[in-house]
Symmetry: C2
Subunit: 364 residues, 2 copies
């Protein structure tokens, strides 16, 4: 794999990851772009004991442009996109409308409410990961080799972004589908480098710490072993990975994919583990799209170890979930879920797993 | 106020709350209904240390029926709705498709995954609160006296449901608008009586406990005092209540309404406090609808004390929030929010509060 780093016209970084070691990419962005502006801050919510990001400069961001104006397609003659080259395999750019980034404004005052609500600049970084130059494709349609290239790019960014000042957590994820607010159709994922350990990762690690204190064992490893033994929620299994619907699933479709070996993050995966993931994950995604006979909107979220804390406790895994509960019907988060955090599931996890296992069967 | 209790044809309870002490309501439901079926269970998620409800019988629930078939309108001649009477002020019925309720199936086995994932029957109760017989109205359009009647009904249910076996938390809320999945247009709210303290309530009370241990003070009272002193996030204030946008707001529109006196739940409010809430809350709701010049979809969630735990720590308040970030634009929960619990706000709370304060100004 060949990695090529350059800068866009407004100073943002662009990084090509090419499968061909001889690939030559265009390094000059001919557009006349105003400097990227970031005005993010983080505030501490004393009620939930969590940080919240306020990115008030993002309201004008690009929203579902027509395919001919897609900023993530390669540049083509006079049509200059975010990607100066005429083609690419995998390319990563800094987000033009980032939620987090080095502040361009003066930092906000240090706190609000007489110290109850701390605040600070929204440092960090947001990157966009283009999986393919083919606008009409999807992750599920990538060749296995491309998935491997994407994983190599994710691993590279995990380590590089984790080395930046103020970054405490590197979150690699894909939002797929307009049903969950995706604003660009081109197949892409994102990476958020947060200046804090995000609430859900922290909550899970707190559980794992209490479990280790009580049992001297790893919670994630025991959960995986339990699901493998039970079997009725397993969707697929390969040499190095197992995919299952969690026993206490929150979403109508939810699949977790665990490696069989405890590693802290994507960069710690071996080559064979990365190749093997590609096969299993592509199979899971195809089952997801077959489930309701239409592309499944989903979030696919990599849980990695924080940059500095709890690296021994964490267990890299992917959590994929969807708001689709039936063809044409979505699960909405309303009072119980978004007001009280109490999820009401419509489907038994065992039934979801069975339907995913049967989803690619040829109907006769 | 006159309270009248009866049963629907399938055994569910119906309770009228009438402003006229002489009101006479129809107590016999002439429909031929099959018995209500509940097949809920709760499962413990060991990763997030939270209970999840699985209600797999609800997929067939009523979804946006035409107005002529509204089940929450009064019955009219041959058209028999859920409400047997020809009119009502406020009426509460047990939900026909409840997420929680006395199980009609055999209880599930006690656990999964060798004890890692406890499970149990989804006991509890779900009620529907009809605010008015006027199908085309909304909470914001209720007369002040009706809001008082609704509050009296909420207080009644808080105490009665809290006295049921297995109920640990009574959650009173309104989901408003198809944008968040509301399946019936008729103005109504809901009450969930959970067999556990829901995650968000527990999380907030944990913060309040740590704060008290550290400072001997009440976190909610100090937050309210801080917002009143700062003033720039206050939306409105009456004799007994203050409405403000929280300093670390998560949603594009978010307003919290606190009483000036620490009380555990709705039933502990005095008559003058209830009347006074009506005036301030109606004003807040009208500002919310004026903000984008269209009815605001929202969740309005009452945070009460749990039934048995932490009644001295809790501080009754209402949290109203909306996914509307601009006319025609919604905030979606995607990777950062639903995958990692890290909210990215688009608007500064101070700006939201100012816009709400100015929303009812006459433009010249």
């Amino acid at each position: 794999m060949k990695k090529t780093v350059s800068r866009l016209a407004d100073g943002r970084q662009i990084i090509y990851f090419d499968e061909d070691d001889d690939a030559v990419r265009e390094l000059v962005d001919l557009r006349d772009l105003p400097p990227a502006m970031t005005r993010s801050e983080v505030r501490y919510d004393p009620l939930l004991d969590e940080w919240v990001v306020l990115a008030s400069h993002r309201q004008g961001r690009t929203h579902l442009p027509p395919a001919a104006e897609c900023p993530l397609c390669p540049s083509n003659g006079d049509r200059l996109s975010e990607i100066p080259s005429a083609d690419y395999d995998v390319v990563i750019i800094e987000n033009r409308f980032p939620s987090l980034g080095a502040a361009t404004d003066a930092p906000p005052p240090a706190d609000l409410l007489d110290g109850l609500c701390a605040r600070g600049p929204g440092t960090g970084r947001c990157e966009v990961v283009c999986f393919t130059s083919d606008h009409g494709s999807s992750f599920a349609e990538l060749p296995r080799q491309r998935v491997r290239t994407v994983m190599d790019a994710w691993a590279d960014r995990t380590t590089e972004l984790g080395a930046l000042d103020d970054v405490e957590y590197v979150f690699v994820f894909e939002n797929r589908g307009p049903e969950i607010g995706v604003t660009l159709h081109h197949p892409h994922g994102q990476i958020y480098a947060y200046p804090f350990v995000p609430p859900r990762a922290r909550q899970v690690l707190d559980s794992a710490r209490r479990y280790r204190d009580r049992t001297s064992r790893n919670l994630f490893a025991d959960l995986l072993a339990g699901e493998q033994r039970a079997g009725d929620r397993v969707v697929g299994r390969s040499q190095h990975w197992t995919a299952f619907v969690p026993a206490a699933a929150r979403w109508p479709v939810e699949v977790h994919v665990y490696p069989h070996r405890q590693v802290p993050d994507l960069d710690a995966l071996t080559g064979p583990e990365r190749d093997d993931f590609a096969g299993l994950y592509l199979d899971v995604l195809r089952r997801c799209d077959a489930l309701f006979g239409q592309p499944l909107p989903y979030v696919a979220a990599w849980h990695q170890a924080p940059v500095h804390a709890d690296r021994d406790l964490a267990y890299l895994h992917l959590e994929l979930f969807s708001v689709r509960r039936a063809p044409g019907k979505l699960k909405y988060l309303a009072g119980s879920e978004s007001g009280m955090g109490a999820f009401i599931g419509d489907m038994l996890p065992e039934d979801t797993a069975r339907r995913l296992r049967e989803a690619l069967e040829v109907r006769t």
